[in-house]
Symmetry: C2
Subunit: 137 residues, 2 copies
């Protein structure tokens, strides 16, 4: 399959496929005489793997690690794979916690403000942001 067909079938851009190739995530098995990329079914399968891994939140760098393990499965243990997954999960959990704090603070700010057409001269959002410890107390 040519790059355009793969792109259409998987709903990605040809740029993305070339980008992944450049970064060692997906090399098409062969090239045509004219130098066009020629993707095999197994290439397609690998691209689906990449997209699914992205879907669950792995970065391209992490996916590259997963692919390396996948390629030589018998040289790696389940422990390694699970470890990567847990690490990522914990990182995501941290980020969720941080964003949840943001959300909480923004909610507090929003509740304090009347939100009316009054001039913002005494807007409680603005004053709270000026005021030390305005959100934590």
């Amino acid at each position: 399959m040519k790059i355009g067909e793969v792109a259409a079938q998987l709903s990605v851009s040809t740029d993305t496929l070339r980008y992944y190739e450049k970064h060692g995530l997906l090399m098409p098995s062969r090239r045509t005489e004219a130098g066009y990329r020629d993707y095999s079914l197994s290439d397609l399968k690998q691209m689906r793997f990449i997209l699914r891994a992205k879907d669950v939140g792995f970065s391209l760098t992490e996916i590259k690690e997963l692919l390396a393990i996948k390629l030589y499965k018998h040289q790696h243990s389940c422990h390694e794979v699970k470890s990567l997954t847990i690490q990522k999960r914990d990182l995501v959990a941290q980020r969720v916690a941080e964003l949840t704090r943001f959300h909480q603070s923004l909610s507090v700010l929003a509740e304090k403000c009347c939100g009316g057409e009054e001039l913002a001269d005494n807007c409680s959002i603005l004053t709270t942001l000026e005021d030390i410890d305005g959100l934590t107390q």
Copy 2:
């Protein structure tokens, strides 16, 4: 106050202060004869505002908007300020939802895997990532 003193007092780098200036967030009121930045107390106050706004999750671009409103409070309404806050809160909520889905998927993956020293030949994380709909079903 010189840039180094401000930086030390607010625990930021001098680079950050220069960066904020370059991007229109904080202009020191004056310069010394030698061209050194000379920050006033009001500049310090504004920097604290910026840092607090960052703490609650506003981006520098959004903080710039807030500062513009703050500077001409009587030309803006509480509605505008609250609107920015709510918008940001909702954006954060979306991101939290996305990351929570990631977290959920990663947890499912992790639970499926034994995590032992077995070779990864049949690792369920790897096979699930290959398998269409493996996570949503």
